[in-house]
Symmetry: D2
């Protein structure tokens, strides 16, 4: 039974707490949040206690931590957790700054502390099935990977302003997924973006719509399309065009009901957002983190993966700003 | 080059004329219709001439006839064509009366004149593919055949009154399709019907909604569902549940376009009616009739098939009236 | 917090125990099973204790019981639970014998003890959505309800022999669903069945394939198709053809992945069996039972519903044996 | 009745001849081809005569010509047809060289001779429906247009060598479609390409796989993905993501049959190639050309459209070679 401390009792922290409490091999002991009321809500629901950071980290019975607090707290928290020797599962991104991200990674490596990143989509059963098909050779060699990833609506401007921008906040998931599926590193990236949804996003210095083309050393292409608005739900589709076959994952719906009438045959829109679409993925990635604590080999994103994705996001930002493709160092 | 005479220049006769004129091995010479203006319209469009029946049948260069005139003219026309030694392609049904149908069939048999029935659905590429799958053993043994067949809207009451009723006018197609796909004869039939669409249909002594269950000697079941009204187009679906797999044919649409919005993802309703859905089938069955004229073996419905379907329709009518299943003689 | 006793620690009892343990308003206190090891396994997993029947029922703190033991124990257990004043959630059927079922129902009614039946499909989100569409008037008047319900493979013969036969064991779910969706009682029923899957099932006096046609007073038709074997998973589909539109629920799959290659475009087979397909339904029906304990109005099947379904199953058996439709008393 | 001369009796010329012969307002009089046997085959099938170019063009009764001969003959043929005052329908491209294309266009303009380009996909009913949805405002403002266009297999190397390369030979269709759907001109284009299918194609100086990103003045993005090989048929899909809804056209299949078995539910691959997929489009564009001859306004691609598409293809070639985006002059 591994005992846990959770940092961050917001939307995602709450999911992790609930998934921990259902796991026979885990026990949530501490919940730490700057907002005490939020910490208490989550702690009460799962028989844990609230605490300050240092008290929790000083508890020798705590094996592992989940970091689901705001991004700008990650760097310092990782440092403290590494110092306390706790295995870390940290929500993406490590940090918005590549150097600080690299430093966090190094600290953990030097100390031999496991540091995993919460790229939950790696555990989405559909996307996992795509990867398994690639690994099994079912589609031959990947030629074109196409990722469509669209949020139902823009987040609040306050969030956007500290988000690091669309590439570091949103497309970073797609960059990780691209690396996860391609099985090799992109060597070149071209990005274009625009503000088509809400001019206030442009005023905040960000874009809300972006397309990216990447190439790998092996010659494969990757297309990514992002939007901060999608009227038919949370649009999360991937297609992998291979030399001998193609696999694709379509959007998911709550039921398989359709209505046939004079105006056509209508099925449901896509699931509304990530809480619904990736409910299984959140659960399965935590299962794997607990497996990792037992020394099993897992496919969780590592700090290194997190850094790679961040470097791609930076490159995309740079390409968009310059209007030119960016070469990526392997 | 086979020369043809067409009897009946209505909706279906017009289709046959058009398909004949596109066929390199056929030539339409005569069009005969009680309404001279209709005959002229079709004749002019295809370089044929109008005529009375006897003149056309006396022309030795005419090899074959297509009978697409009203059902109550079939019996006499078949007699005349048989006497003239013309190969006959007759729209279903042979006759509404089993005895007259049997007599027509006998006349043709005795005279050695080919007499085929226009059960065009046998040539629908989707249904043909179902049959091919059955024949190839792809689904093992048929266990349950389910046919859904619904018209977009009831025909005019005047038509209904002389139609012979839903079973002889509409479900007769499904009876032929059931025999075509099952590859064996039904031995028992239970029918239930009601008037749910328009009470005027009940006043005309007919039903507009009906379900049938049949069994074969081999043990397979067949479910048929008919309605005279369907809001989403012409509903023509078949599913064959077999011991090792299942094949099904869904409705067809004009395009594969769909619209995704907040209210869901909408594709087109089914094609509107038989002219659209069975356009290919009409063409392909006529191709086969022309092949038959050259002595090739074809899968056109024969007079015998037409009689069998009519017997099933009669049995359905009888079962519905009595409320009890009807045993069918092999 | 309602405290529970669970009778039966088999496959379905285990699901209920797990759903109880996740519910904030419920607590599983006792697990009773003739097989002590099974009881212990479930009790241990959920912090409950094992017990004999009478000890558990004597505990005043226990409000409600779940009966998931073999059908032939239902009658006596219901009697004991009614005597102890415990609210009852009983897996279907009440009993294989209509008279005993009626007696159980009466005992509960007289004592004012709630007695609900576990027709879990009422809580399947897809089927619930069909019912909501009917209730909202989205499809007008129901004209034809079609239910396809096929198990992936026959159960063991030992199970079959005490199951009461296909109609009472399997199609009983479809009878309840038909009543639930039609919103009125069938007035006539015709059933046909055969043994097409395994002759040993015939030797056991049962059938493995059956089709049923029912009519209601209001004029609607219902078609049901059952098989004990289906190669593409657990086939659970419903279509409701209405006067203004049609709704249908297709099978569900684990993911929305498809593979496109030279042999076509392949998506997954249906979910394997009821544990997967109805996982949500089991959880949601228990939620509603707990709501019922608080006095809320729920759409759980009542003992009366259970009796009605059993009467339809008996009528189907009788129709199949006699070969004739059976009139049903309102 | 408009009388026609056809230049080029190859695959596409044969389609046009057949569509002409079915049109009540057109008559094919002359077939001209460097290969006399090919010309004779087509002429005989449709009651036309073979001829040399000048004889056909000297015939005053000929109103219009169809140019379906090799690309390198277009320039000279257009010149001769313009001189003879014949209305021209020319298969794409006008020419592989922009200057010659421009010169052809000018000649026709100066002489007041109609010159249309055969971008048949504008007449594909699915793509036409997409455009109608855009025009009707159904999807709001276009934000991202995504075109997938993949051939089943590479053409012969001999063809490739004189094709002008993937962008001018294959993607030129997608460039025209992008302009047709976007309703505005691209202002920037980035292209990347590679040889992933067959190294012999690289040896011929061409690529077989390419992706393009374009932007318009209005801010919309367009993604195009091309491959010379696709195992599941001719892959022709378009999705238009708009501000209020999204429309998409999926691939088409010969039938709507699917097979359900233990390995999943399989539907057909896409139609094999352009002859099947665009059969309707070829017919409908010729209908429109004949309408244009009567002075009606049509949506046929003009020489100006052909030139625009060629300029985009040149820009793509240039972007791919340089590795940088190319700005396009309005």
């Amino acid at each position: 039974m591994f005992r846990f401390c959770l940092f961050g009792a917001g939307r995602i922290g709450t999911i992790h707490a609930s998934n921990l409490s259902r796991h026979p091999g885990a026990k949530l002991d501490y919940v730490v949040d700057a907002q005490q009321s939020a910490a208490e809500r989550v702690a009460t629901a799962h028989g844990a206690r609230t605490s300050d950071r240092d008290t929790a980290l000083a508890d020798k019975s705590v094996t592992a931590v989940i970091i689901a607090s705001p991004t700008d707290t990650h760097d310092e928290l990782i440092g403290a957790c590494v110092a306390a020797g706790k295995a870390i599962f940290c929500e993406k991104p490590l940090d918005l700054d590549v150097n600080r991200a690299r430093a966090s990674m190094s600290k953990a490596q030097v100390a031999g502390v496991p540091l995993y990143l919460g790229f939950n989509r790696r555990y989405d059963p559909s996307f996992r099935k795509l990867r398994d098909a690639v690994a099994a050779g079912t589609i031959g060699t990947i030629e074109v990977l196409s990722i469509v990833s669209r949020d139902p609506a823009p987040p609040p401007l306050a969030y956007l302003r500290s988000s690091g921008g669309l590439f570091r906040d949103m497309m970073i998931h797609d960059f990780d997924m691209a690396r996860f599926l391609l099985g090799e590193e992109p060597t070149e990236l071209y990005a274009a973006g625009a503000c088509l949804v809400d001019p206030a996003i442009a005023d905040a210095g960000d874009v809300d719509t972006a397309v990216v083309v990447m190439r790998t050393a092996g010659g494969a292409f990757c297309q990514i399309s992002n939007s901060r608005r999608c009227t038919y739900g949370y649009d999360q589709r991937i297609e992998i065009f291979g030399s001998t076959a193609t696999v694709r994952a379509d959007n998911q719906t709550a039921t398989r009901v359709e209505l046939a009438s004079g105006s056509g045959v209508t099925r449901e829109p896509a699931l509304p957002f990530f809480l619904e679409r990736y409910a299984d993925a959140y659960r399965l990635e935590l299962d794997d983190f607990i497996r990792a604590l037992s020394g099993e080999s897992v496919s969780l994103a590592t700090a290194q993966d997190g850094l790679r994705a961040l470097l791609l996001a930076d490159a995309a930002e740079s390409s968009m700003r310059s209007g030119h493709p960016v070469a990526l160092s392997g």
